[in-house]
Assembly symmetry: C2
Homo-oligomer: 142 residues x 2
Amino acid sequence: MKLSDDKIKTILRQNGCKATPQRLTIIKEFARSDKFLRPADLYDKLKQDHPDIGMVTVYRVLGLLDRLGLVCKVHAGGDCHSYKINTAEHHHHLLCSNCRTVINFPCDEPDLEELEAKITRETGFTIKTHILEFVGYCPGCK
Amino acid sequence: MKLSDDKIKTILRQNGCKATPQRLTIIKEFARSDKFLRPADLYDKLKQDHPDIGMVTVYRVLGLLDRLGLVCKVHAGGDCHSYKINTAEHHHHLLCSNCRTVINFPCDEPDLEELEAKITRETGFTIKTHILEFVGYCPGCK
DNA sequence: GTAGGTGCAAATCGTTTGCAGTACA
DNA sequence: TGTACTGCAAACGATTTGCACCTAC
């Protein structure tokens, strides 16, 4: 995920939010990582170079990104409440339970749609969305 | 899920645990529900008829059931940390986001295995397990 | 200039733990 | 009888909130 200052500023302003230096710093640091992070993980990463940014602000920025649909929650592998930045289409996660790396893969499997159709037929449920995550070890951690 | 007193007692004793009335009450109440419940939800259900049972005991029984593999966590729809009782094989969940009903469906889809194989081939990940949950509205809540 | 954002400290929520008393096996 | 279980209260960690100050626009 690559996000320039300008791009972040544009996104924030388009949503009626101010582009403060704290927000830019937090979002850039978050986007730089290919891991899934808890708020405290992100705060730790920031602390070294930006000791002036408080944990509360990290929470508020993550909450903001969540409301704007720019993050997705990661369930498996972590303790829940982990986040990964996201500007892509609907997709799924491939998680390394050792190093916490996340790889996205697109949700273009016709099989899943067929499974949804089958479930709807058999149970009468109206399916709105789904969660699909795979957990294992990435090539580097094997 | 139907669990008689005797069945619960047997399970507990087989695992070296004492069959106390609190445990029987909590497990029966839990098994009676087809919804996914947070510890507090379960405690609330019990409070009416069993005001003598404390929240701490609910937590300890849920932890015990978790260690025995008799519950599964539900991620979508709730705030995480919701549980559903479970004595079945590996399966997936179909969740009603209105009434919190859970329907299990078996994990016998050959498509999923094929998808896993494909992902392994393309990414080099070793996949250990997965989460798959569908969220929507049950026939009654539509 | 003003609305919105930040940082601190305190409050709050969910969960776990220490300990003394209780009850199952 | 002895060990495991329970309930209370207190501790704990993660997250949210109140408030005074600050700053982007």
